[in-house]
Amino acid sequence: MIEKRVATAAEALADVKNGSTVLVGGFGQIGHPMALIDGLIEQGAKDLVVVCNNAGVGRSGLPRLMYLGRVRKIVCSYPRTAAVFSELYAAGKLELEIVPQGTLVERIRAAGAGIGGFFTRTGAGTLLAGGKETREIDGLPYVFEKPLKGDVALVEAWEADRWGNLTYRGSGANFNPVMATGAVVTIAQAQRVVELGDIAPERVTTPSIFVNRVVAVPYEYPYPAIEY
């Protein structure tokens, strides 16, 4: 019997190594796997490269991981959400790779879908094209972007079953379905762990093949909305 459910975040994260590239889902506080990030803080891995659209908010979660000096580099589109990021970055204690939001998700998709790289118009002629291969296609400038693969992906789902099928709620899909495809090991925290077959085949958003471990983390409300 295939059994991807594990009892705790600690068990799910036990084998994360120092130096890992960690893809972290979520846009703002929604679909952001806070329990797994807390577990990663406990777990102790360091020298991490974190790929996430934002750098978290407040002082818990990703900001705490950064504050503890465990993050070598952050790859994201909008890190300015966390004061901790700004402080560490200004102090030269954190590397930053800033990537346009659509290019970020497309680079992760490329890694998950076996695409060796792609050309996009986004960023052409801007500072973010610096050092990158460019090419004129049909008379317009394009930038070459490379796949961005994770060692681990941490995603948050609404429902999950023991095979690892996932659904999302509201705007909770965001980066999660693509990140689930783009890492060697994908770990999902799910609000509701349901029986196999409870998620109808056409309701599955992330097919089970992309998920390695499932941890149940039920809560009744997303993490508090924080203005920034």
Binding site: F27, Y89, Q101, F175, N176
Partner: protein, 226 residues
């Protein structure tokens, strides 16, 4: 949670709301529209009654409705500005890959963005104030500015220090080159055409000369040969 713009009071909010209303009036039925943070966000609630316009949010929503009451808000449903939102009948939810396929693939009819500077050749600067930014952040600005069918900018005509944000050439790092088609400000509506800025409309009590005086580039009268 309310947007920053909505926490403003008095003339500042009214000024911004007037700019947004002017944008909203010009959006035809059936357009798919992405709204940036700031003044553009206000456009959503100001689309004339009965006109179907589909508002897209880059975090995976098409067909947003009016802002919810605090009591009825679904905390799992937020827009790109991280405010809770509602859905119209006919709305759809999807992931970031699909969302940016819409944006980069030219399916969005209009994106309304704020700006630091707009140049007379349509260049847009709205993401960074320096090549050595102490905490740079781009979000979806470059994807939207490059990918949408047309870009309108909605912003104050000048900075708080009185400096024109309509310029002959951008000093700040570009978001995208040559993309802005129209600019809505507190002073008027400016088309960006082959010859540069053309003033199409002015706010009540504002003259062509007033706008020119606050614009750091030559202003033409809309549709009037030089």
């Amino acid at each position: 949670m309310r947007a920053a713009a909505e926490r403003m009071v008095g003339p500042e909010l009214e000024n911004r709301r007037a700019i947004a209303a002017s944008v909203a009036r010009d959006i035809p039925e059936g357009w798919h529209v992405n709204l940036g943070i700031g003044i553009p966000t206000l456009v959503s609630d100001l689309v004339p009654e009965g006109r179907e316009v589909l508002i897209q949010s880059e975090n995976g929503i098409l067909g947003m409705g009016p802002a919810p009451d605090d009591e009825n808000a679904d905390p799992w449903l937020i827009n790109a500005g991280k405010q809770t939102v509602t859905l119209l009948k006919g709305a759809s939810l999807f992931d970031h890959a699909t969302s940016f396929a819409m944006i980069r693939g030219g399916h969005i009819d209009l994106c309304v963005l704020g700006a630091l500077e707009v140049a007379e050749n349509g260049d847009l600067a709205n993401w960074s104030t320096s090549a050595n930014d102490t905490a740079p952040a781009v979000g979806g600005a470059m994807d939207l500015a490059t990918g949408a069918k047309r870009i309108w900018v909605a912003m104050d005509h000048t900075t708080k220090q009185g400096k024109s944000k309509l310029v002959s050439a951008c000093a700040y790092p570009l978001t995208a080159a040559g993309v802005v088609k129209r600019v809505y400000t507190n002073l008027g509506v400016i088309e960006v055409t082959a010859r540069g800025f053309e003033l199409r409309d002015t706010a009540p009590g504002v003259t062509f000369e007033n706008v020119q005086a606050h614009t750091d580039a030559r202003l033409y009268r809309f549709g009037v040969a030089d």
